[in-house]
């Protein structure tokens, strides 16, 4: 039996990397997926990768906060009540602290934190959410627990997201909405490849060596996301789930 049968899942950042993989795996488990990201053609590429189902491409800038309610209302009209939300949209930044600026922090927090909160808040409304409840999954990072040069802004944003999950899970438990955050180590995605280009080769080697099981693949994270979206994880909420190939075991 497919674990996400009859569930409609909204996925931000579905145009690439982990978000795309979560869409693929959710669809293969029977979910209807709502694919959200800015780039329409890349979202269409994602949809082409999904098994046939009730999937929708929604080109949207997740920082367009004033229009999220309109988007979710449109989703509800097309796909019915929502059972799950995954916030994969994210911004990575590797800039030395001495060169950081307010607007860089603002951009990081808008995408990594506030967009997650606003989507979750709006989707959790009674009029949109499945009355049987559902599951919200957020993509944090082990960088919310560990440091690395050039990551002050990124660590702070992922830390803010992660530390919100317990409070959110308490508030939404009465509506049977579970909230969890996955803390991945370094996963081989386009975003990470870009980050690797901005740091010395010696640092790339060091990061790779710090993962005893090697760097992760998007499916390593998608497996956990699908589990958290499914009813098999019905007693898990307010949790931080580390999936990092042993990075934090050291």
């Amino acid at each position: 039996m497919s674990t996400l049968h009859n569930k409609t899942i909204v996925i931000t950042g579905a145009s690439s990397g982990i978000g795309r993989q979560i869409a693929i795996d959710s669809a293969s488990q029977g979910a209807a997926t709502i694919l959200v990201a800015r780039n329409k053609s890349r979202l269409e590429e994602t949809r082409q990768m999904l098994v046939t189902g009730n999937h929708f491409v929604c080109p949207f800038d997740v920082t367009d906060f004033g229009n999220i309610d309109g988007l979710i209302n449109e989703v509800y009209e097309k796909a019915g009540s929502i059972s799950g939300f995954v916030h994969c949209a994210g911004l990575e930044s590797t800039i030395p602290f001495r060169n950081m600026k307010a607007e860089i922090y603002e951009n990081l927090f808008k995408i990594n934190v506030i967009a997650a909160f606003e989507f979750a808040r709006i989707i959790s409304k009674k009029k949109y959410m499945n009355p049987d409840g559902g599951s919200f999954v957020f993509l944090g990072s082990v960088m919310s627990r560990f440091g690395r040069e050039g990551k002050v802004g990124y660590c702070a944003s992922k830390g803010a997201l992660t530390s919100s999950i317990k409070a959110m899970s308490l508030e939404l438990s009465s509506r049977k909405i579970r909230c969890n955050v996955i803390l991945p180590g370094v996963v081989q995605t386009e975003m990470i490849n870009k980050m690797f280009e901005s740091i010395p080769e010696s640092s790339v080697k060091q990061i790779t060596d710090q993962h005893p099981l090697g760097l992760g693949m998007p499916e390593d994270i998608a497996n956990m996301a699908v589990f958290l979206l499914s009813d098999k994880s019905r007693w898990i909420t307010g949790s931080e789930l580390v999936i990092d190939g042993g990075y934090s075991a050291q």
């Binding site: 800039i95 060169n99 050039g150 740091i199």
Partner: protein, 78 residues
């Protein structure tokens, strides 16, 4: 941009100790030029010139002059 202003901005952005830069100055010869300075140099190119450069490209630019070549000579004057 005047070359002298460019040198000064570079020193300030990378928080290098005051040093007399010229086109022939090799980055690795500058006191305090380390892996963080490389990251800063990448941010400097992006913020000040709107030019994206990666760590592999930066490593090939050994002198201040080669960085100026990369950014475009037309952007500098004496």
């Amino acid at each position: 941009m005047k070359k002298k202003d460019f040198y000064n901005e570079l020193i300030e952005f990378l928080e290098l100790d005051p040093v007399d830069l010229d086109e022939n100055t090799e980055f690795t010869s500058i006191e305090g030029y380390d892996s963080m300075a490389v990251m800063s140099l990448i941010a400097f190119c992006d913020e000040k010139f709107g030019t994206k450069i990666n760590a592999q490209q930066i490593q090939k630019l050994t002198t201040v002059g080669s960085l100026m070549d990369f950014l475009g000579r037309e952007k500098f004057e004496n």
